[in-house]
C-alpha cells in the first residue's frame, strides 16, 4: 500500500478531520483550540472549517468543560476534549474518575459515554513542575477508562480513529516531544489501530525493552547504542495501557529472557511498575535476570535545563540499566 509521510501532529489533524467529516456528532472542546488553533497547534485549521458549533473554545475550567462534554456524550454526542497539557487534567479528575469512568457501570450499561480526552503528557522543554508530568498510570489505574499512549505517526493516526469510534471513555496520550516527529502511515482513510495490541518495533534476541509513548522512541535509540556493543535488544511498544496486551510482552520476554521496563512517569508507583510486576509474576521461569525498571526521577520536574535532562529518562539511562542485567 502507498504510504504518506507526515508529522505526528499532522497525523492527529488528519485523523480528526476525517472523523469529523464522517460523523456530525463528533465535536472538539477545550481551551484555546479554536480561534487560537491550540497551544501545540494540533487543532490548526479546525475552527475555520467547522465554526463555533463543532469547535468549542472553553473558558479555563477543566472540571467544568470535562463534565459538560461527559454529559453531552451521555446524550449520544462524541466529544473530543483537549487538555492543553495532561497536567491540567488533574483539575478534572473528579469528573473523569467519579463520573466519566463510572457512568456505564453504575447504570449497569444503560448509559454510554463515548468521549475522547486527549492532550500532551510528559515533559516538553523547561515547562517545569506544573506542566510536565504524564501521570498516565493514574488513569490506567481506573476501571471504566481506556488509556492509550501512541509512539508512532501511524499509531497516533489509527488509534485516534479507534478512540473516536469507541463507545467508552478513552484517555489519549500524545507527547509534546513527538508532535514534530516525522513518520509514515498507510494512505488509507479506513486505517485504524486496535487497542490492546502491543507491537514489536525492533526484533532482538538478548533483552526486551518495554515502553510506550516517547519512551518507545527512546528505547529504539537505546537499542541502536546497544547494537554498537553487540547487544541485540528487542523493542516492545506497549501502545495501550488499558487494555494491556500482556501476551505480546510475555512472548518477547520468553524469547529474550530479560526485560527492562521504561517509562517517563515518576518511577515510584508509575505504570511501568505494573508492567514490571506482571512480567515478574507471570514470566518468572523464563527470566535469566530480575526485571529492570527505568522511570523518571522521583522529583517534581525542575526548570533548569541540566536538571530537567537529568530527571527525564533518556537512552543512556536505558543502556545503563540493560548493562546491569547482562
Amino acid at each position: 500500500m502507498a504510504t504518506l509521510e507526515m508529522t505526528y501532529r499532522e497525523a492527529l489533524q488528519k485523523s480528526m478531520f476525517e472523523e469529523m467529516d464522517k460523523n456530525a456528532d463528533v465535536f472538539l472542546m477545550g481551551e484555546d483550540i479554536g480561534r487560537y488553533e491550540g497551544t501545540f497547534k494540533v487543532t490548526k485549521g479546525f475552527f475555520p472549517k467547522y465554526g463555533t458549533r463543532r469547535v468549542v473554545d472553553t473558558p479555563i475550567t477543566e472540571a467544568g468543560f470535562t463534565g459538560i462534554a461527559t454529559g453531552a456524550a451521555m446524550a449520544g454526542l462524541r466529544p473530543i476534549v483537549e487538555f492543553m497539557t495532561m497536567s491540567f487534567s488533574i483539575l478534572a479528575l473528579d469528573q473523569i474518575i467519579n463520573h466519566t469512568a463510572k457512568i456505564h457501570y453504575m447504570s449497569n450499561g444503560v448509559v454510554k459515554c463515548p468521549i475522547v480526552l486527549r492532550g500532551p503528557g510528559g515533559a516538553a522543554k523547561q515547562l517545569s513542575a506544573q506542566h510536565s508530568h504524564s501521570m498516565d498510570g493514574w488513569f490506567a489505574h481506573v476501571p471504566g477508562l481506556k488509556v492509550v499512549c501512541p509512539a508512532t505517526v501511524a499509531d497516533v493516526y489509527g488509534m485516534l480513529k479507534t478512540a473516536i469510534a469507541d463507545d467508552n471513555p478513552v484517555v489519549f496520550y500524545e507527547h509534546p516531544r513527538l508532535y514534530a516527529m516525522k513518520g509514515e502511515l498507510p494512505d488509507d482513510p479506513n486505517f485504524t489501530v486496535p487497542f490492546g495490541k502491543a507491537q514489536i518495533l525492533r526484533e532482538g534476541k538478548d533483552i526486551s525493552l518495554v515502553g510506550y509513548s516517547l519512551m518507545t522512541q527512546i528505547n529504539l535509540q537505546a537499542a541502536e547504542l546497544l547494537a554498537q556493543d553487540g547487544i541485540d535488544a528487542e523493542v516492545v511498544d506497549v501502545r495501550s495501557l488499558l487494555p494491556l496486551d500482556t501476551e505480546t510482552i510475555y512472548a518477547s520476554v520468553r524469547k529474550t529472557h530479560r526485560a527492562v521496563v521504561v517509562y517517563e512517569d515518576w518511577k515510584s508507583g508509575g505504570f511501568g511498575s505494573e508492567i514490571h510486576a506482571r512480567i515478574s509474576e507471570d514470566c518468572f521461569d523464563d527470566l535469566d535476570a530480575p526485571v529492570g525498571r527505568v522511570g523518571g526521577l522521583n522529583v517534581p520536574m525542575p526548570y533548569a535545563r541540566n536538571l530537567e535532562l537529568l530527571a527525564v529518562t533518556n537512552e543512556n539511562d536505558v543502556v545503563a540499566a540493560v548493562k546491569k542485567l547482562l
Binding site: G67, G71, G109, P243
Partner: protein
C-alpha cells in the same frame, strides 16, 4: 417568602387528585425505604425526599416526560418515580437486587432510566451539575427544543464546578434549568453556616442567567412557577437558575440518626405546619374534589401498593457473582480475579 396556596388553580380536579396521589406515593414509598433500611434490607447511604414532594411534582409535571432531560444528586427516588420508572425496580435497586434499575450496581444514590430522560442519580455533591449542562449542550447541538432539569441541594451550590458550569451555561446559552432544592441544610450544616450569602438565588446573576427564588412547599404554586420557567427556557433556549425553598423532615440520609445536633424539635414541628401534602389535602377538601373518607381510601390504596412493591422487590434474587464484571465497558471485560 412562603406564598399562600393558589386560590383558583387552573388544574382539573383529576389533575389535582393526581398531584396528591403522586406526593402521597412518594411519601409512603420513602417511608418504606426507611423501614427497609432499618431492617437491614437496604445498605450504604440512602436519602429520602420526605417533605420535599411538592417540589419534584411541580417540576416533573411541567416537562415533556421522556423527551426532556432530568438529572439530580443522590436524593433521587422521587424524580425517577415521577418520570415513570418502575417503583419495584427502584426498590429492588435499593435492596441491591438483580432486578433493580441498575441490576444492583448502583443502589439508592444511582438510579438511572435514560429511556425516560433520567440520567441519574449521582453521589458527588455538585459533581453532576456539568453533566446536566452537557445534556443541554447535546440537545442544543442537535437543534432540539428539549430542556434539562438539573437538580441539586443547597450544599452543592458552593461547589466550584457549579460556578464553572454556570459560566459556561451563560456563555453557551444552554437550555438548562438549575434547581437548588434548598432544604436549609447541607447534610448537618445549616445554610447560614455554609453560604456567605444565604440568598442562593443570586448566584446565577453574575453569569447573566435569569435567577429567582420560589416556594417549593405548595404544589400548585410550585407547578405554576415551574411551568412558567420551563416554557421560558424551551422558548428562549437559555439557562435559568432557581432557588426553591423547601424542607426535609427526615435526616440528611438514613444514617443521620441525630437531627438534634443541627436543629431543634420545635423547628421541625413548625416545619410540619408547612407539610405540602396537608396543604394540598386542604385544597382538595375546600374545592369538594375529595372528602376525608376518599382521602383515607386513597392513602390506604397507596400503602397497600407500596407494601406490594416492597414484597416483590424483596423476593428478587441478588446479582450473580459473574455480573461483577459486566458493563464496566461496552465491549470488553477486565482481567478477572484478585
Amino acid at each position: 417568602m412562603a406564598k399562600q396556596a393558589v386560590k383558583n388553580p387552573t388544574e382539573t380536579p383529576a389533575q389535582l387528585e393526581q398531584y396528591y396521589r403522586d406526593m402521597l406515593f412518594i411519601r409512603h414509598f420513602e417511608e418504606k425505604c426507611n423501614l427497609a433500611y432499618r431492617q437491614g434490607k437496604v445498605g450504604g447511604y440512602m436519602h429520602t425526599y420526605i417533605g420535599m414532594e411538592a417540589l419534584a411534582v411541580g417540576w416533573l409535571e411541567s416537562i415533556k416526560k421522556g423527551y426532556d432531560y432530568v438529572i439530580t444528586a443522590y436524593r433521587d427516588h422521587a424524580h425517577a418515580l415521577l418520570l415513570g420508572t418502575d417503583p419495584t425496580a427502584i426498590m429492588a435497586e435499593l435492596m441491591g437486587r438483580k432486578t433493580g434499575t441498575a441490576g444492583g450496581k448502583g443502589g439508592s444514590m444511582h438510579i438511572f432510566d435514560p429511556e425516560r430522560g433520567f440520567y441519574g442519580g449521582w453521589g458527588i455533591v455538585g459533581g453532576h451539575i456539568p453533566l446536566g449542562a452537557g445534556l443541554a449542550f447535546a440537545s442544543k447541538y442537535r437543534g432540539e427544543d428539549r430542556v434539562t432539569l438539573n437538580f441539586m441541594g443547597d450544599g452543592a451550590a458552593n461547589q466550584g464546578v457549579v460556578f464553572e458550569t454556570l459560566n459556561m451555561s451563560g456563555l453557551f446559552d444552554l437550555p438548562c434549568i438549575f434547581i437548588v432544592e434548598n432544604n436549609e441544610f447541607a447534610m448537618g450544616t445549616r445554610l447560614e453556616y455554609h453560604a456567605a450569602d444565604p440568598e442562593l438565588w443570586k448566584r446565577g446573576v453574575p453569569f447573566g442567567i435569569k435567577s429567582e427564588r420560589i416556594d417549593g412547599m405548595d404544589a400548585l404554586q410550585m407547578k405554576k412557577d415551574a411551568q412558567r420557567i420551563v416554557d421560558w427556557v424551551r422558548e428562549n433556549q437559555q439557562p435559568y437558575w432557581v432557588e426553591v425553598m423547601t424542607y426535609r423532615y427526615a435526616g440528611h440520609g438514613a444514617a443521620d440518626q441525630d437531627r438534634q445536633l443541627y436543629r431543634t424539635k420545635e423547628e421541625e414541628q413548625k416545619a410540619w405546619e408547612r407539610d405540602p401534602i396537608k396543604r394540598l389535602e386542604a385544597v382538595l377538601i375546600e374545592r369538594n374534589i375529595l372528602n376525608q373518607e376518599r382521602l383515607e381510601a386513597i392513602e390506604a390504596e397507596i400503602i397497600a401498593q407500596v407494601d406490594n412493591i416492597y414484597d416483590e422487590a424483596d423476593a428478587a434474587p441478588f446479582p450473580d457473582p459473574e455480573e461483577v464484571y459486566d458493563n464496566i465497558y461496552t465491549d470488553m471485560t477486565p482481567e478477572k480475579g484478585h
